[in-house]
């Protein structure tokens, strides 16, 4: 039963993060939502590793998820900085038009 409950935890984290990523306007807050979603993926991957596939490749999934987190953070901050420098906004709604 622990296996299913942990997957439930992963689904919960993923859905909370998804809600945040969809509903927040600020780019930094959207990134927080994405972080939570990847957190859910990490829990699910660790769960699968422990109960179904305790192989090295199972762990590599977690490594890839952690790298995705780091890449998302770095690019997110860089994009926020670039947009803010160009037109002093940090909200997605104000950056929806292509022309600056």
């Amino acid at each position: 039963m622990t296996f299913e409950l942990l997957l439930f935890l992963a689904a919960g984290l993923f859905s909370i993060g998804l809600f945040g990523a969809l509903s927040q306007q600020s780019i930094v807050m959207i990134m927080m939502g994405i972080e939570l979603m990847i957190g859910g993926i990490i829990v699910a991957a660790a769960d699968f590793w422990h109960f179904l596939a305790p192989t090295g490749s199972g762990q590599v999934v977690i490594v890839a998820a952690v790298v995705a987190m780091a890449v998302e953070m770095a690019m997110g901050f860089a994009v926020t900085t670039a947009i803010y420098r160009a037109r002093q906004v940090d909200m997605t709604d104000m950056a929806e038009d292509l022309k600056g």
């Binding site: 622990t2 296996f3 299913e4 409950l5 942990l6 997957l7 439930f8 689904a11 919960g12 984290l13 993923f14 859905s15 909370i16 993060g17 998804l18 809600f19 945040g20 969809l22 509903s23 927040q24 306007q25 600020s26 930094v28 807050m29 927080m32 939502g33 972080e35 939570l36 957190g39 990490i42 829990v43 660790a46 769960d47 422990h50 109960f51 179904l52 596939a53 305790p54 192989t55 090295g56 762990q59 590599v60 977690i62 490594v63 952690v66 790298v67 987190m69 780091a70 890449v71 770095a74 690019m75 901050f77 860089a78 994009v79 926020t80 900085t81 670039a82 803010y84 420098r85 709604d93």
Partner: protein
């Protein structure tokens, strides 16, 4: 799985979910960031309890650094960082709630409906060695790809974030020495 592990998993899991909810309900940016840190530290704890101590502790380490940096950007770019006056910066809340609700329901039903195979397999004794051997062995291509992705990220993020090129630093004829930088450095400038 023993009783201690089960208790730990329950505590960490409930805490992770509670802090995850707090991320989108609190007002203060600093509190939001550290609620997310608490949630992800619990995720690292879950990974550790599941028998992957190296990855778990690395997640804790990385998330602590990331979230502190995130707090800096948060306060730099967002209005009302201390949350002294309640405010909401949401769009399409109902749609987002509907979509994430449907996704959650779908995932949960899949979790409990799918007949998961029950194969208690032999787990490696030293999981740190296991992941190292895997990354440097049969998953070498993954490792190399991740390395290139990180390198591309470093270059791309720096290019996006900086607004100064070499002509700003070295002058129009690129002969200005030392470079004109807004802040001095420690190596010869």
């Amino acid at each position: 799985m023993g009783t201690t592990a089960a208790v730990l998993l329950w505590t960490l899991g409930v805490l992770a979910l509670a802090c995850g909810v707090l991320v989108f309900t609190l007002n203060s940016m600093a509190r939001v960031t550290f609620a997310l840190l608490a949630s992800l530290v619990c995720v690292g704890g879950v990974v550790t309890v599941l028998g992957l101590p190296y990855l778990g502790v690395v997640i804790v380490l990385m998330m602590a650094m990331e979230m502190v940096i995130m707090a800096v950007f948060m306060i730099a770019y967002m209005m009302n960082p201390a949350g002294l006056t309640p405010m909401s910066m949401l769009h399409n809340k109902r749609g987002a709630l509907a979509i994430s609700g449907v996704v959650f329901a779908a995932l949960t039903s899949a979790v409990f409906v799918v007949p998961w195979p029950d194969r208690p397999r032999l787990r490696s004794k030293d999981t740190t060695v296991q992941v190292g051997m895997s990354l440097m062995g049969d998953q070498m291509l993954t490792m190399v790809t991740l390395g290139f992705v990180l390198l591309a990220t470093m270059v791309g993020a720096t290019v996006l974030a900086t607004n100064r090129g070499r002509y700003d630093r070295f002058g129009d004829d690129l002969d200005q020495r030392p470079a004109r930088d807004p802040a001095g450095g420690g190596v010869g400038r």
